[in-house]
């Protein structure tokens, strides 16, 4: 199959122009806050701020309590088991890989929560009466950051399952080897 120079040039321009067009559409959507919406933001200002304040506090509590649990899964169980199995000269490559991925996901969770909290605090510090558009944008950015934190939590749960699966394989191999030795 031969690709002509014309179609290659066409693909090249499409690759450049498509992201630009998409970006323009997204930017236009961000800017399209109507006067009615600004009026709505102003009228819901007090209730929105109250909701944000409550969310700010409840999410902080969630971060402290869940974060502690996620941290302990790594430091009190995964790392310790890997170390013990390794010192007994077992192959812990799979377990270590999952534990490392879990550690990376935990770091991402910490960083993403920090970004989210900073963004939410920014939104809370803005006056929705005086700066309704900035307030709306700040809330939208905080929403995106919160979705990222949730994605990190899902990843952590997945790695918890993965470690369990790796442990089960390890235990099966261990039992086989032990039976063989007897």
């Amino acid at each position: 199959m031969r690709i002509s120079t014309k179609s290659l040039t066409l693909c090249f321009f499409a690759a450049i122009l498509l992201p630009v067009a998409l970006f323009s559409i997204v930017s236009a959507q961000e800017l399209s806050i109507t006067d009615e919406q600004i009026a709505r933001i102003r009228s819901s200002c007090v209730s929105a701020k109250n909701t944000l304040n409550q969310l700010h506090a409840s999410d902080a509590l969630l971060r402290v309590n869940r974060g502690q649990l996620y941290e302990s899964m790594s430091t009190k169980l995964m790392t310790r088991f890997n170390s013990r199995a390794d010192s007994n000269r077992f192959d812990v490559k799979d377990l270590t890989t999952v534990a490392q991925s879990y550690g990376t996901a935990l770091t991402a969770f910490r960083d993403d929560y920090k970004s989210y909290e900073v963004q939410l605090a920014t939104a809370l510090n803005l006056s929705c009466l005086k700066e309704p558009v900035s307030f709306y944008d700040a809330v939208a950015a905080a929403r995106t950051n919160r979705a990222q934190v949730y994605a990190d939590v899902v990843k952590l749960h997945q790695y918890i399952n993965d470690y369990k699966a790796a442990f089960d394989v390890f235990a099966t191999n261990f039992n086989k080897t032990n039976r063989g030795n007897k």
Partner: protein, 124 residues
């Protein structure tokens, strides 16, 4: 005697005369500088996000788990036999269940529709 003290007084510079004030000013400057560094570290390290004693968090600070003594440490040394594997399995299952029990940060409470800040047409 009076003449002598007058002469000595005349030779003192401005800073010699206000040494005590200078000491206080330098002390305050150093203290402010150190507080600035501490605050920068507090904000950049992520400690601020975990500090529930901050204003605005008082209502929930009592609900924070202060000690996790019920989360047992698995021994990182010792022989690895079937009993040790069973012990780990039981500890891990217990804590994994707890960790996955809450789907933290799910939902969409910052949705403009929920906050009633979306455009009236979208909200309808």
């Amino acid at each position: 005697m009076d003449e002598h003290s007058e002469v000595t007084d005349m030779h003192l510079s401005f800073w010699d005369k206000h040494r005590f004030l200078l000491l206080i000013a330098i002390t305050i400057t150093i203290a402010l500088f150190l507080v600035g560094i501490s605050m920068a570290l507090y904000a950049s390290s992520g400690a601020a996000q975990l500090d529930l004693s901050r204003p605005g968090y008082r209502a929930v600070s009592g609900q924070a788990v202060n000690d996790d003594r019920d989360f047992e440490n698995y021994a990182s040394f010792g022989q690895l036999d079937k009993a040790a594997l069973d012990e780990f399995n039981s500890l891990y299952n217990k804590q994994a269940l707890k960790a996955k029990a809450v789907s933290a940060f799910s939902g969409d409470p910052l949705n403009p529709d929920v906050l009633e800040i979306s455009s009236p047409i979208t909200a309808e």
